[in-house]
Symmetry: C2
Subunit: 582 residues, 2 copies
Amino acid sequence: MEVTRKNFKDCLSAVYSAIDEADFLAIDGEFSGISDGPNVSALTNGMDTPEERYAKLKKHSMDFLLFQFGLCTFKYDTEASKYIIKCFNFYIFPKPFNRASPDIKFICQSSSIDFLASQGFDFNKVFRHGIPYLNQEEEGRVREQAEERRNQQANGAATPSYISPSSKGPAHVPEEHKDFISRVIEKVDGLFTNSEKTVELEPCTGFQRKLIYQTLNWNVDVLCLVCLQKERYIQISKVDDDERKRREQQKLEKEQEELNDAVGFSRVIHAISKSGKLVVGHNMLLDVMHTIHQFYCPLPQDLQDFKEVSMCVFPRLLDTKLMSSTQPFKDLIPITSLAELERRLKLAPFKSPKTAEGFPRYDTAQEQLHEAGYDAYITGLCFISMANYLGSFLTPPKAHISPRSKLMEPFFNKLFLMRIIDIPYLNMTGPDLRPKRDHVLYVTFPKEWKTSDLYQLFSAFGNIQVSWIDDTSAFVSLSQTDQVQIAMNTSRYAESYRIQTYAEYMKGRRQNKDVNSQPDQSWGEEGWVNHTNVTLGKRSISPNQADQGAGEAQATDGWNQSSHPDGMGNKKLKTDETDSAC
Amino acid sequence: MEVTRKNFKDCLSAVYSAIDEADFLAIDGEFSGISDGPNVSALTNGMDTPEERYAKLKKHSMDFLLFQFGLCTFKYDTEASKYIIKCFNFYIFPKPFNRASPDIKFICQSSSIDFLASQGFDFNKVFRHGIPYLNQEEEGRVREQAEERRNQQANGAATPSYISPSSKGPAHVPEEHKDFISRVIEKVDGLFTNSEKTVELEPCTGFQRKLIYQTLNWNVDVLCLVCLQKERYIQISKVDDDERKRREQQKLEKEQEELNDAVGFSRVIHAISKSGKLVVGHNMLLDVMHTIHQFYCPLPQDLQDFKEVSMCVFPRLLDTKLMSSTQPFKDLIPITSLAELERRLKLAPFKSPKTAEGFPRYDTAQEQLHEAGYDAYITGLCFISMANYLGSFLTPPKAHISPRSKLMEPFFNKLFLMRIIDIPYLNMTGPDLRPKRDHVLYVTFPKEWKTSDLYQLFSAFGNIQVSWIDDTSAFVSLSQTDQVQIAMNTSRYAESYRIQTYAEYMKGRRQNKDVNSQPDQSWGEEGWVNHTNVTLGKRSISPNQADQGAGEAQATDGWNQSSHPDGMGNKKLKTDETDSAC
């Protein structure tokens, strides 16, 4: 079901009850861009620490707009042995709801916009009919302001004094408008001496309108007048006490409704959060970050604080990209982009789940990938197929595995980390993996160098993996740790390039950071070894993922192949990859 | 005529010849926002110096996208005594044209987007079918890169060596892909031993495709192969020398055409610039700034440099907002927003010009304001009406005044400055007006203060004008210079607020700037008096504008009432101006 500002209020109770009755939820977001700083390959360096990755995404991805949000609710019907699915595709836009509300600025990235355009994305629907929202701080402030305004008006109305507007005009009416304003005052004064209930003022400019309001406010705060803007005219009416009270009550109700309208889509996120239900997404770190940033609060500086906020908002998360690249799925699923995952899960040994849609909407035969609602739908189906596959290992085998099953636990609250070679996921409920990286070198070189130059430089050391940092530096992982010292020795007299061990590099960074007093001590040389122990302890909790280090899934798959057509290669490789006559 | 990426190439020659034959051109732009920093009233402070205003617009307005550009060409048909008009409404979007081209990020301001949406603006047309563009630096770089690539390939092709791909595989194929790659090599080798001209490789991932290109490049740079990407497959063909040359020629031509396509809409601006014709706009400073910034080069730091660049790009500019707020029009035209101006110029003593449209498109009876092409059209018509009105003062009176007439000269190259009380325009071909401002006070106060507090504070001094700077400071202009000293004296013991003369304030700013070494000495206390003399000398050139100081036009007119619904009030006034029961 498509939800815009036009039908949002009518849909809201259907959304609430779909969330209430669901066994789990699937979500997906579409954004106006990915990175406003480095290109995506630099944004997602293969040797990032979780702290670095979070800091980069926070810095370079949060000024984009989450402008489409997909929510699918999945409820298992035990008797019919199938899932009842309800899908909502929300269009989101921060339409300022009045002059005091925040005037949000957001960035668009041409490549992302162009990609969505090529998929038929409807920008008019977003910008014309998108549902507004407020984060919690904005909501609080707006409600406070409304309260204050009401109090002021109530106090004003209680004051019994009445000064005729003509008795003391404000001092600041410019000379050329004085005639106009005195005609207005005369008319308004007339209201109290004749039997008319209403006068219409002559047409005026915005500036003159401002003067009128000031003049009347200045003198007749408590005068029983109602000023209605009627096209370009101002109509002024005399009303009695009852009528004034009735109008005030009406105004109050209207104001409350407008405030709720302004909170808008945030109410859906609040409902998801309050339900505490399992929320499934595919490569969902950015979705979670954007959702919190846009509808709750600015993201915290620190990764640990982010994890805590996230767990408050979404107490149980599951990332199908992480699940599918973890055993026992990893060996069966070579490519984990959502489209490829869906394709693979239709084949044996997997089984497509039996489903029925709460409302007619999506048809998996007809691809609508990159519409948030459809992607959420597919994500939910993929989760069910994988969950049910785990049931085949039980004795006796079970065809349906509940999302609440113990079998799901190893996958809870671990968010896939794109392209990090040796840290497959962000652990939302504990410390992250801390691989040793003692086979990794930090290399700096002239900016003309390409990947092939690095391969040549390290050709004696067998297979290597290159993670570009920028034009003049990269991490190079050797396959054998014992070759690190040899590589270091051979580089000693090199002039064009320079090699450091990963530990040396991190130590230098830490010292640098200490000077700039930014908090990131956890990857220092000493803390490192300690953390590795913690890590090993942590690993044993989910043994399935013990071999999650090869990084194949990350390397072969673009950024969820979503929102960014350029997600695949890095700059240096790209130049080698022209489809050209050769 | 509506021009998008789809018909741009077909329209280009029509655009060129319309520019060539025109007597003058009218332009207008629509942007994705106005200010990414302060609100519009702070962005356009009534006491800005021209340098300050330029610096603020450059800093806070240039990251928005000019996404619709209107161009109307006006050619006078002497025999029929009427103008032939051709209008083009271009949709603009920086679609990245290949992987190496810049991936532009631009900002959207919700209020502006919402305003355009309410006017029926078609965002899908912009984002799906917008015409791309490159500025001059980007164009140069892209052409250089193409040249380099060609040279490299030419050199590669000249090398006679041929090494069979199987003889020395690259060292860096990951273990798990080695089988796949050796199957590829086998197939390609096969091409040279059997009679097939083409092989299709098995389906592969993006990463495997990368490996294939590397493998083949590594060894078979000069092998006569053409690699075509065919959906998810790679097809490899064996071709002879003639065929290879033909394909290379084809490729070169295609590349050149793609480059021209990438330069895209910038070619229209180049043609306007090259024509040297009079370019008319309404409140056009931002249009000129955006046009140069987007299609020529990043804006210079310094206002003087900006004027020089502008005069290179547009040697003759005329701003109808400035013209209409200058004598003899000022007294006849109370409101100078484009819509009001158009309405007024349909009435006596003005005459609507006789026109014929080159192509059927716009009808002034049916308003399409805020479409760039329509706004440019109206702007041109307003210019003609005003120009012809000047002819009525001649003896004998003339009904048609050419845009090249001497009567136009006072209006050339002066761009309207929004809401600056005493400097009506930016003088593009000389020093700007330097009013003395010795009746102006700089006041700081608690952030709770509103405009009414300032009126009260200065109530003894008659009429004042308030120009808000931020929450805690404003400029206050007294009507009498001799009251400045009295105001200063009475404020001496005040605790809640503080008053400085304008000269003191500017001196403080200059000293502050010297510390931060930013260039802006021109408004220092000493230079100031000197400049005033220059100013007076300059004023005598266009006597019509001698009384352009009252700022009425600026104060009563919103930001061209275009692109920004909120342009009218400032924050402090707004709270006084609620349309409420009072």
